[in-house]
Homo-oligomer: 226 residues x 2
Amino acid sequence: MGCGSLPAETLDRKKVEEIVREVVLKRLGVNGQALQSKLVVQASSRHMHVSRADMDVLFGPGTELTFDRALYQEGNYAAKELVTIVGPRGRVISNLRILGPMRKQSQVELAFTDAIMLGFSNIPVRLSGDLKGTAGCIIVGPKGVVELKEGLIRAAIHVHMSPAEAASFGVAQGDRMKLKIGGASGLTFNNVHVRIDPTSRLNVHMDTDEANACGLHLTKDIEIFK
Amino acid sequence: MGCGSLPAETLDRKKVEEIVREVVLKRLGVNGQALQSKLVVQASSRHMHVSRADMDVLFGPGTELTFDRALYQEGNYAAKELVTIVGPRGRVISNLRILGPMRKQSQVELAFTDAIMLGFSNIPVRLSGDLKGTAGCIIVGPKGVVELKEGLIRAAIHVHMSPAEAASFGVAQGDRMKLKIGGASGLTFNNVHVRIDPTSRLNVHMDTDEANACGLHLTKDIEIFK
């Protein structure tokens, strides 16, 4: 607050309305529905998303992914299918799990620890699907081998939310939020990308490096804010 | 600044002296020596510190550590000696490097990623040497095997500094500082332990999980503050 000539207690009607709207939105959501979203923060282990064409090569023509367990975001699931990734110096990681459903383009998401272990000196930090100019790798499946020309990323930490949740936080698609994690290894992620979709549930995805850095498994003291 | 009755420009002599002292201390250090410390931030890979008694068992009675390369803190070095650590479910990590000089008590420092890989569900976050009540493990050397009853920790992120550097930051032994890392994976470590010693150089030690979470190798945009 500045030091104006009016006393700080003087609030005009417009300001009062703004404050009331903000508080009501936070409590009720934009459509008057109760919005008491629970923030779920999860660590994503390294994994792959596969295209129809690459699935054909890796597991055989026309094969489908086998549902193993549902993920928190509706429609997403861990498949039973596993592949092996081969890095630039011949080092491998086996049992890389595929997440369904299939995508337009294959994509591998690694933590930096995984990437370094495989011999990649640097992989870009990207949002899912933003693959232009990224590195490639070799993927080995039970029926064949695919050379991905691009698709290897470290997924940028992000928060999924519904439009109502976005309104209650006052954020828009592509904004960044902060995620503060308490505890002995407490830290604040300063660049959490906001991804809004009507089907989404309030949910932060970070990778295993980020989860292990902050000791995510050791604390419930978690806060997200603009 | 509050909205007092005096204009903000009015500063008394005491306040001016305080500000001058603060600025001078930041520039000159407490003894009038030039203090232009460069902040060096480093990732410590998993490693072991070994006691005389455990060295005798692992490498043979009376053996000494072999200097390989100097570390940034004076007197510390990476030794050529390597051991293997065996976790609770028989999983192993080979080529665990020993850092010298020898210590009063053996100690193993792992990132959470390492600990999880070895099958430890939880290791405490501690400062070096604070080992009471920590987990143990099996260490295998070329000449023998040691069962550590305790000594397995995740090292808490910390900053080494000289008393002059501490004075310039206005911090005391055991205080916590914040370390802000910029870039695409930018984050702020909120609990950086201050460790002051006359022989120390300004230097943050974090582990590989923390370094990989923030992409330490990708940015020079680093700031430490109270």
